[in-house]
Structure formats: structure tokens, C-alpha cells
Amino acid sequence: MMTLFIKSGGVLVITAVLGIFFFILFQIWPLFMPAQVSELKTVSLPNHSFSLLGVDEWGARPFLVEPDGRMLTVDYETGAVSEVPIDFGEPLQIVSAALNKREQMIIVGTADGRFAIVAPGYESEESDGRQVVTIHPSAEKVTPIGLPGVPILDIAYGDSGSSKLVVALQANGNNRQVSAAIFERKRSLMGQGKEEAVGVFDLTSLIPGRASKVLVPGTGDSVIVVTEDGKVSYLLLEDEEFKLIQTFAPFEDIPGAHIQAATFIFGDVSICFASDSGANRVFSLYYPKGGAERFFGKTHDFPSLGTMPSFLISTLRNKAFLLGGGSELSLRYSTTESIRWEGKMPYNVVNAAISGKYHRLVVLDSTNKLHFFKIDDPHADSSLKALFSKIWYEGAPEPKWEWQSTGGSDDFEPKFSLVPLIFGTFKGTFYAMLFALPIALLAALYTSQFLDPRFRSIVKPTMEIMASLPSVVLGFLGAIYIAPIIEKEIPSFILLAVGLPLVAAITGFFWSRLPIRYRKLIHPGWEWIVFVPLLLVSSWIFFQLGSVLEAIAFVVTDPATGQKTADFGAWWTATTGNSFDQRNSVVVGFMMGFAIIPIIFTIADDALSNIPAQLITASMACGASRWQTAVRVVLPTASPGIFSAIMIGLGRAVGETMIVVMATGNTPITEWNIFSGMRTLSANIAVELPEAPHHSTLYRTLFLGALVLFVFTFVFNTFAEILRHRLRERFKTI
């Protein structure tokens, strides 16, 4: 009966643990899943030629622009194809077109050297419980640009809000001309006012080569020109003037490579290029280390598509892009350099568009069929690499491990590297153990082997009460009270850390040399009566000497005024180049040490006291002193227990949450600097989970953090248990 009870209890515990494990596993599983892309529907289009393919936010009504200025749209629900005229006010022959993704606008270039900006005018309404999307395109005025009457081969525009930058590419004899025009909306008393060209530029002379493609970022402050020899020029608009900043060849190591396709990645800081052979790279703008100007540099390199690309499109939601050519489609994610999905189609792909919500894809094939796909990729930005490897984020000068889950702007990219958190966990544990281990173990050795049993029976329960102190209280004390003291008195604490053990060792040495006639005055086990006051007095002295030390050793000279100040924090920053924060590892080590000292102490003390008395008697009978007995017999024999104590302390430190949340700045940094903070896995969960949207990447990544923590403790404990068994085997007593 009893055993059944115990057995079922055990099974219940194991089930619960496994249940938690599987729950966590279930939560994090989607993070590692590739994108699911499945075809929904195919619609045949009339046999026209199209210069642009676009789709609305919901992926319900794709449109195609026809050369005669009409728009062909397809209703996803019904499969109906309809034609909507765009009212340009005159018949136009459209020869080029481009999308401005940020503004959801279309720009078209005409055969006679003019352009027009067209708003698709999507409208969505509920009707009969389903969503109906309609399209009502409206065109702005047709405006000439560049060489009059010459067809526009490529066109692009950006809108900074106050002005528009339009760039057009035209043939000029055998050469190519790149023209730019800036338009500003003049405010008038009559409302909207009209747009006026405030600057017209011929960029041709700035471009080394024959231009084949132009790109303008959404901000409209620069121009990217691709030339036929496979080079890219980056021109910046500064003080109403264009400057060539940089010319680079994305595929310079591939002989004879041409740039077949190029597009800005969402955020307009990176450009994705594809070569005629299918090679695929991403270049990003960043300040090189120490540089004052931003340049493009290669940040990501993808496997080749294997065939000549026919299009390259990016999304409006994340850093994903779709590369297609021949019968291949490849959905890729720029930041993590991963291929989300790849498909070989039974037709040749010509063009594609992805819905603003990144949930639908339309692909046009060479026989003018439009294929609708569903994209299911909720965690496109997540992968093993993103979580654990260095990632080259946009704007960074080098790949980094970074954790930053939320940011200010819309196109902010969350960074989910667990490495800084794992590092922080180890850092916190390390400093806590550094402080707690010597104190707890020596205290346990002293109380169990040397202290008179009468005091031992007071000390031990006191420590046990300490162990039950809520860590919130410790964290609060650490943050509010201890941190400011430590910040001000670092030199004092350095003196204490070095001085106290030294004082104790020296007094101990002299005490042991003291003739027995004086030593006899103190009964064995009562020595603390002498030592405690001594240590208290020397602590006080060391504390007072702190400012003296600071004035001598930690002086910084202000280079500007030449004024000398004694300040440890400033000295530390000036000397080591590392930061000095108020909530730093010393505070955490100290407070967390407080939490784990009682645990390690209690278990170690038990282990040390449970050494068979006969071993101690045997050692004493051999003429060993108490110290020799403690060190040579008791300590090794108790080592399995002490080891357990350390491991349990370690486990507590690794999982400790509240103290770290409160007493550190929670900065996810990757440096051992003792005067900076950290963010641990557990603190990270506590801090971010309340804010994390259900089932978002952040939410799941936090669960992954929990799993990593779980795995750590599991590995630790298993390893500890194995080692403990070995030790126990070795030091088992009869």
C-alpha cells in the first residue's frame, strides 16, 4: 500500500516534469520550423504584357499595369479578372514602372520621357462576413523628367514627407542618362497646393559606367545606380547636391557577373542583389569602425539560385525576400541568412508580389497565369543561427550577439540572440560564487570542526533562517541600499576583500605560534571571542582607509582642465576602458552571495559533521592537530557532500531571478567587466514575458530561454551527480 503510494507519487512527479518539458518544447518548436508555402488558386490572365505586378496588404486583389495605362486586377475570392482604367487625363504609353513600398504607390515612366505617380486606392470592407477589397486607382499629374521625348527605361522614387525624389533612366544615343528631380509641395492658402520641381539634376557624369537600373530608398535621400559592368554606385543627396559616395561591385569575385536584379530590403538600409548566374548577396549601409560616413558593405551571402533570376522582391513586414527564376522560387531571410522555403514550380516564373501582411504570395508565370500561395511563416526572423550565432544586423559594423526585443521605430528589427543572456547567467553565477563559495565553505568548516557545539547550535539555525529570506527583499536591498554604497566605496571594499583574509591569516599564524600558556586561556572552540572583535575593528579601519586609497591610487586627470579628481569609477573607465555602472556585478555577486551562502553553508556543514567520529579519533590519535584533521581527513571524506552543496548553490545562482532583476541594470552585454551589469536568462523571462504578445517570436524565444535554463540545470545536476558518485566511491568509509 505504502509503496504503491510512493510509486504513484514518483510517477506523478516525473509526469509533471516531463509535462513541463514537453510544454516548453511545444512552445519553442515553431521557432525552428521553415516557412510553409502552399498554392491556393490559379487564375488565367488575358494574353497581354505587363510592366508591374503588385498586391494589396491582404493579398486579395493583385493588380498588373498594362502598357496602355490600364490596370488589370484579379479578385482572389471569385477569380474574376477585371480591367480598371487609370485616369491620366490623356492616353499614355507606359514603358517602365516601379513600386514605392513604403508609400504603397506606383510610379510609371512613359515612352515620351514623362512619369506619373499612381495611388492604387485600395479599399477593404466587410460584406456578407467576408472581406471585399476593391481598387480605385488615381494618378497624379504626368510630369516630364530628363531628356524630353525619350523613353524612360527605369524609374524610381522616394518620399521624405516634405519632398519627393524621382530618378529616371533613359537612353542618350549609345549612352545612358540618369536624371533626378526633387519636388516639393508648396503650401498655398487653397489647401493642398501643387508640387513643384525645386531641383533637377543630371547624374550621368557621377556614374562610372553604363547605368542599367536605378533604386531610390523610401526616404528619398539617395540614389543607387546599377551599371552594366556589374557595379553599383551610391549617390547621396546632401545640401541639394548629389555626391558619389561609393562604387562597389557586389559580385567582384565572380568573373563577368552582371547584376540581374536588385531591391531594397524592408527598412531601406540593405540592398539585395542577384547576379545573372543566380548568386545572391545583401549589402548594408553602416558606419565602419571609427568611420564618420556610412558605406555599403557585404553583410550576407546566400547560396546561388542556380538559374538566371527573373525577379527579386522584398516584403513590407520583415527582412524576407523572394528570388525567382526559371522554375525556381526561393524565399529567403536577409538577417539570418536562411532559406525559409524553396520550391520548384511546374512552370516558369516571371514576376511575383507578397502581401503586406506576409501571408500571401502571387506569382505570374510565363503563360500569364497568376498563382496564389499562402505563406505561413510566423517566425521568419528566428533560426538556430539567429539564436546562437553572431548575426550581422543592419547598421552594425560587424556580426554580433545581441538581445534587443523591442525598439522605438516601426522598422526596428528585434534581435534575439540568447548568447548574451547565457553569458549573463554565467557571469552572475560566477561573481556570486566567487563571493559565496569561500565564505560558505570556510564557515562550514569552522562551525563543524572547530566551533564549540554550543555556538554551533545557534549559528546553524540562524543561517537556515537566512536561507529562507525572500530574494525579492535581497534584490530590493541590493538595488536601493547596497548599490549606492558600493558605488561610492569601491576602494574600501577592495581593501576589505584583500585585507580581511590577510588579517585573519596573519593573526591565525601568530596565534598558532603563541606559547601554549597563553593559548590555553581560550578554550578550544571559543577562539572567535578573540577573532570577531579583531575582524570588526580591522573592517572599520579598512573602510575608513578606503578614501585614502582612492586619493592615492585612483586619481584621474581631466585632460581639458588638468584638474585631478580621486574617483574610482572615473579611474576605472579611464584606465581599463570599461564602463562603471552603479548596478554592477559586485552588487549582484554580493546580494546573490547572500542568498546562496546559507544554502551552501548548511549542506556543507551537514556533510562535514557527518564524518564518522572514528576517523577523526584515528587522526587525532596519530598526533594530528584539529586543523590537520579537518583538512586532511574530514575535508576529503566529506567532499561528495561539499560538492553537492556547491552544485545546489550553483543551481540556485543560475536560476536566481528577483535579485538579478532588481540589482542589475539588466543590460544584455557580453563582457566580464566586474563593474558592469548583466542580464540573465531567468531575469530576461521575468522582465519580458509580461510584455510579450502571445505566441510571438519573443514569447517563444523566452520559452527557449527557459528551456536552455532547464537544460543547464539538468546537465549541471547530472554531471554533479556522476561526480558525486565517483567521489563517494573514492571516499566511502567503512
Binding site: 606559547p515 601554549i516 596519530c622 586543523w627
Partner: protein, 274 residues
């Protein structure tokens, strides 16, 4: 902190220079010795002279205080809280309670073997050299030489010489007890105290230890506590009989066992009580 704990020997217990072969009849002199565990008196006014380089046996029924007296000879009882004593114990003209003497130096001169063998969870080698190590002797040749001498002295050399670095706990019970004897004699004490050293051993191992006692006698003054009358007759020169914490009779062993002066002694050795 380490401070309190290391106790290098300042005041040494005076060592005997062993010149005479005969040995002193009062090498250990117990004088009017009473002993208390707290309020409980365990020994009552014991006076007893133990001769040098001979075997003295303590016999008596369980709980009569044999172990208590033995453990007082190297002050091992002081590990217990709340003990007190009166009277004196004098080894070679020096009181072991001299306040200026480190108890450690006394224990270095008085080796002890316990009823239950208690090897350290270390190798055979490290067990034997332990008394030397704690005395600060770490020279390899000295230690090697000591291991061989002590193990030979404890008749364990042949069995253990090929496994010196194996754990002592891999030995048999009898071997462990002989290892403990080897450890007790490693640092060449003058006195060897044995508290029922054979009680946990089989007859063959017992014989070995008894023979060993006979050999060690030439070098050490041996005090042995035993419940085995034959053992006392076989290997001791003098025998002391205790009863309820009092010394009843002390004489040459053959006299005690053939013609005891006290009725209680006779009752005990003939097995009428105890």
C-alpha cells in the same frame, strides 16, 4: 580562518632515550586517578604502574572503565565534552597533564589501535605515513622506508606490498586492523594502546595479531584491553582486572589466571559473571 587551527608543537612531551634493556617497571604510572563523564564517575581512584616494553592487559566486564582508562593514557577522552579528572598519570617521570605540554606531542608518543579498525579513505601507503605527514615529514625515502618497516612490523607487508596505492578500504577486516597497527607504529611511538584489537577478527587473523604483539613488545610498551581470557594469558605479561570503575587486582598474568587474590577476579576469569 586557518589561524586557530594549526597547532605546531611548541612544548614537546619529553622523549625517552631507550638505553636500558630491562625497562622501568613504572614507565607509566597512574596515580589515584578518577575520571568523570560530566557527573557520572567512570573511574574510581585507580593507581597502577605499567612496566616498560612489556604487555599489560586490562580485563573486566563490559562498562567497567577499561577503555576509559586506556583513552586517558593519550588524552583521547578530551574530545568529549564535559569530562573531568583527578589524580595524575605520569609517563616516564612527566605528567601528561602538564599544562605546558601540547597534547599532540603526547599522542605522537602514544600510538593507539581501536576496537573497530578505522583506516582513512586513502591509499594503504597514505594511511601508514599519515602520522609522519602530520608531523611534517614528507621526504619520500623516509616515507617509503617507514611504510616498509611498519607494514613488516604489522605483518602486512607481504600481502600489501604490491597494492600500496590501492584504497585501504579494499583490504579485508583483519588486514585493515593490521594496517591500523602499522599506522599506529609508523612514527615509532613508545607506547602502543590497543582497545580490543581482535574483537572483530577471525581466529587466524587473531593469531597473527597476537604474534605481532609478541614481536612488538621488544620495541613498545603495550597496553591491551581484551575480553578474551586466553588472549590475555597468551600475550600479556601483567594483567589488571577492573570492576565497576575500580581496579580490583593487578599482578603478573600467570598469577592472576592461576591464583587470583580476589574472589571477584576469580569469579570473572572462571566465567561466573561478566
Amino acid at each position: 580562518m586557518p589561524a586557530v587551527l594549526s597547532e605546531p608543537v611548541r612544548s614537546h612531551f619529553p622523549t625517552t632515550v631507550n638505553t636500558s634493556t630491562a625497562g622501568r617497571p613504572d614507565f607509566i604510572s597512574i596515580q589515584n586517578f578518577s575520571f568523570f563523564y560530566g557527573a557520572k564517575q567512570a573511574l574510581f581512584d585507580i593507581s597502577l604502574d605499567i612496566p616498560e616494553r612489556q604487555v599489560t592487559a586490562f580485563i573486566g566486564p563490559s562498562g567497567c572503565g577499561k577503555s576509559t582508562l586506556l583513552r586517558n593514557l593519550n588524552r583521547m577522552n578530551e574530545l568529549i565534552d564535559g569530562i573531568s579528572h583527578s589524580g595524575d598519570i605520569i609517563i616516564h617521570d612527566h605528567s601528561i597533564y602538564d599544562p605546558l605540554i601540547e597534547v599532540i606531542s603526547l599522542r605522537k608518543r602514544v600510538g593507539m589501535v581501536f576496537q573497530k579498525s578505522n583506516p582513512f579513505p586513502k591509499s594503504i601507503y597514505e594511511n601508514v605515513v599519515y602520522p609522519l605527514r602530520v608531523a611534517g615529514q614528507n621526504a619520500k625515502n623516509v616515507l617509503d622506508e617507514t611504510v616498509e618497516r611498519s607494514l613488516k612490523g604489522a605483518a602486512l607487508w607481504d600481502e600489501a606490498k604490491d597494492r600500496l596505492h590501492e584504497s585501504a578500504l579494499s583490504l579485508s577486516g583483519g588486514q585493515m586492523q593490521r594496517l591500523c597497527i602499522a599506522r599506529a607504529i609508523a612514527n615509532r611511538p613508545e607506547i602502543l594502546l590497543m582497545d580490543e584489537p581482535c574483537s572483530a577478527l577471525d581466529p587466524i587473523a587473531t593469531v597473527k595479531v597476537e604474534e605481532l604483539i609478541q614481536e612488538l613488545k621488544s620495541e613498545f610498551t603495550i597496553v591491551i584491553v581484551t575480553h578474551n581470557m586466553q588472549q590475555a594469558t597468551r600475550c600479556s605479561d601483567k594483567t589488571a582486572f577492573f570492576y565497576l570503575g575500580k581496579l580490583i587486582e593487578f599482578d603478573v598474568t600467570s598469577k592472576i589466571f592461576s591464583n587470583p587474590a580476589q574472589k571477584q577476579t576469580e569469579d570473572y576469569i572462571t566465567g561466573r559473571f561478566g
